[in-house]
Amino acid sequence: MALGFLSRLKQGLSRSTQKLTEGLGAALTRRKLDDAALAELEDVLVAADLGPAVAGRVIASFRRSRFGDEVTQAEVRQALAGEIASILQPVARPMLLDPARRPHVVLVVGVNGTGKTTTIGKLALHYMAEGKRPVLVAGDTFRAAAVEQLQVWGERTGAPVISGPPNADAAGLAFDALTRAAVEDADVLLIDTAGRLHNKSALMEELQKIIRVLRKKDPAAPHSVLLVLDATTGQNAVQQVRVFKELVEVTGLVVTKLDGSARGGIVVALAEAFGLPIHAVGVGEQAGDLRPFDAGEFASGLVGQV
């Protein structure tokens, strides 16, 4: 399984960074690192969704150390990977469950369509495989068939799913679920929520209410608040993280859909701006496609040193 996982991740990452790799190849084939070359390199980084600011800083540090050198593609890639890995290293931290918490409460939040429910399904499988007892809460009572979607994941993984009637109050449901999970001595309670745009204050207040109500039962809950981010998202991800972090105290990120053509460069910008741990990355639709985030591997993949 370990082998399959590595190759799968590499496959996913290399696909997602193919364009960047091609771009780099075109940008620098042993030539003088002059203003024009640096400008091209900056363009390549921007096109990888690193964002103009981060791309600008990487180029600035390049300029200081290497300006005027004759450089090869490999050198550029190595230096770039090093630069990116050093930004990502501090945030590559897995989500640790506190065994003293019975259960450890995980609230999963994010904008619509980022993959919250799928991520919960994958997490459930992961915990089941570790011999833990996860309980899933179908807290998306708004979207059509969201409850059923999580129930299918419950069947697939064998984890119990707690749900309420359509349009039920998500906070009340979360409270009942926490009560039940505590009685049943579950290890981890994974609470799904409806997708919501961060600029809709009423919907964000609803999330805050879930947290408030959970705290009536356990003042330390939720012990983790996971923000699920779509890797195809551009610079708006920065705003998403900022608002969710401020309003619901996000403790870590999961980045999904890294198996596509999206290059995931936004991750670098997020690490710089917030330093929030990136707990896992999603690299496919199957239950096993949730992987720990590895800074070195990601950086190498990003610049094509797989």
Partner: protein, 460 residues
């Protein structure tokens, strides 16, 4: 959603406006800013380059340097180029000119909003164009996706194809078209599973679906928050399927909208609709010229008027306008207005449509104004007597106490409301003096009390 971008543009052109004459260096400087702003807004790099080159070509030279107001001239050139990049003036309607049932194929990445958009589109075609629509989900990948569409169809009051377990997407597509023919539907909307453009097996599958059904429209559904990757996705789907239109979803978010600018440029397909909310009727025609105006901070007056005319009671509005012009505006009228405004949506979404209000809007959002203030103000007015509503100047301390108790508010809030009402009356007098022409020339800012644009608005 384009606020951040329009804020930036507003800043850039403010810089230009302050100068009398414009040098070539100024144009270069402004365009560098335009380039950065667009990159920040997730506009795809090739599109940015092309855009900036086009504007530079037009801007540098006599055209601008000899213009009476160079800043305005550059703003106009940027605006024109933006409209072009967004697909030219006017919305492109859906093509339904074919023998019914007309198949519409919905494709896109996972989580872009295909199923929700399918439901919205079905409702729109049913209610506005009086078509009989059949919804069919070909998504056998994601758990409960078919059920999701069935539930959406029920909410929209539209027919959906009965779910048969174990069928392949191509089989479902054939069955949908068969049912469409047999039961006399005008349109069959085929909602497909989300797929990555690099997933060959799934791309082949959707090609088969296309061959089996020959869709008249193949709509690519794209999240407006998408980054640089939007271009790759659109290109791949276009190469594989021949996209005939694009639907941009989550336009009600605060993404800067680069995807919108890139799409037409890269695929050649027009953006036909934009999704702007979670309600099933939140699907609008995409108007490039309006969105470009919004980007440049010129406002989306046309959109505001359209939304207003859909939600506002015409007779009541005319009555209100007449009273306003005659200076007979009372608290009763204000309450009526509050009711109508709350029907139109959030304050910030309305403000975003007004010219020159981009910065105000940001400030209002920053100030975190409690949007329930409208409701409370309505409650306050409802707690007044008819006499008080018509002549608010009679409301003194004792009446205020009574009204506060009656409406569950405080005397301070009543003072604020009365002050606000007073300001409004002043504003209306100015509007009368300014007339229609003045309003168009100076924008809504001309109506604001001096300094209001710079001030942090007081919280309520």
């Amino acid at each position: 959603m384009f606020d951040a971008l329009s804020d930036k543009f507003t800043g850039i052109f403010d810089g230009l406006r302050r100068r009398g004459a414009l040098s070539e260096g100024d144009v270069t400087e402004a365009l560098r800013e335009v380039r950065l702003a667009m990159l920040d807004a997730d506009v795809a790099l090739p599109v940015v380059k092309d855009f900036v080159a086009r504007v530079r070509e037009r801007a540098i030279g006599a055209e601008v340097l000899s213009a009476v107001s160079p800043g305005q001239q550059v703003a106009k050139i940027v605006n024109d180029a933006l409209v072009e990049a967004l697909g030219g003036a006017g919305a492109v309607p859906l093509n339904l000119a074919a023998v019914p049932p007309v198949p519409i194929l919905m494709v896109g990445l996972q989580g872009s909003g295909k199923t929700t958009t399918s439901g919205k589109l079905a409702l729109r075609l049913t209610s506005r164009e009086k078509r009989r629509v059949l919804l069919a989900s070909l998504d056998t990948q994601r758990p409960a996706a078919q059920l999701q569409l069935a539930q959406l169809a029920e909410r929209a009051g539209v027919a959906s194809l009965p779910i048969v377990a174990g069928q392949s997407p191509v089989q479902i597509a054939r069955r949908a078209m068969e049912a469409g023919r047999r039961e006399g539907f005008d349109v069959v909307i085929l909602d497909t599973a989300g797929r990555l453009s690099i997933d060959q097996a799934l791309m082949n599958e959707v090609r088969e679906i296309r061959e089996a059904t020959s869709p008249v429209e193949t709509l690519l559904v794209v999240d407006a928050m998408t980054g640089q990757d939007a271009v790759q996705t659109a290109q791949a789907f276009n190469d594989a399927l021949g996209v005939t239109g694009i639907v941009l979803t989550r336009m009600d978010g605060d993404a800067r909208g680069g995807a919108a600018l890139s799409m037409r440029h890269v695929t050649g397909a027009p953006i036909k609709f934009s999704g702007s909310g979670e309600k099933i009727d939140a699907l609008e025609e995409f108007h490039p010229e309006r969105v470009a105006g919004r980007i440049l901070g010129l406002g989306d007056i046309a959109g505001l008027v359209e939304r207003a005319s859909e939600t506002i009671d015409q007779d009541e509005a005319e009555k209100l306008a007449r009273r306003m012009m005659r200076g007979q505006f009372t608290l009763e009228d204000y309450a009526a207005q509050l009711r109508q405004i709350s029907k139109m949506g959030s304050i910030s979404s309305i403000l975003g449509m007004l010219p020159g209000m981009g910065q105000m809007k940001q400030k209002i959002e920053d100030a975190n104004i409690d949007t329930t203030v409208f409701k409370r103000q309505q409650a306050i007015i409802c707690s007044m007597t008819m006499k008080e509503r018509r002549a608010p100047e009679i409301i003194k301390a004792s009446r205020k106490k009574r009204i506060a108790a009656g409406s569950g508010t405080s005397v301070q809030e009543i003072n604020k409301l009365l002050k606000q009402f007073d300001d409004m009356a002043t504003m209306m007098k100015r509007m009368g003096k300014l007339g229609q022409k003045g309003l168009m020339r100076q924008g809504i800012g001309a109506l604001m009390p001096r300094g209001m644009g710079q001030q942090r608005p007081r919280g309520y």
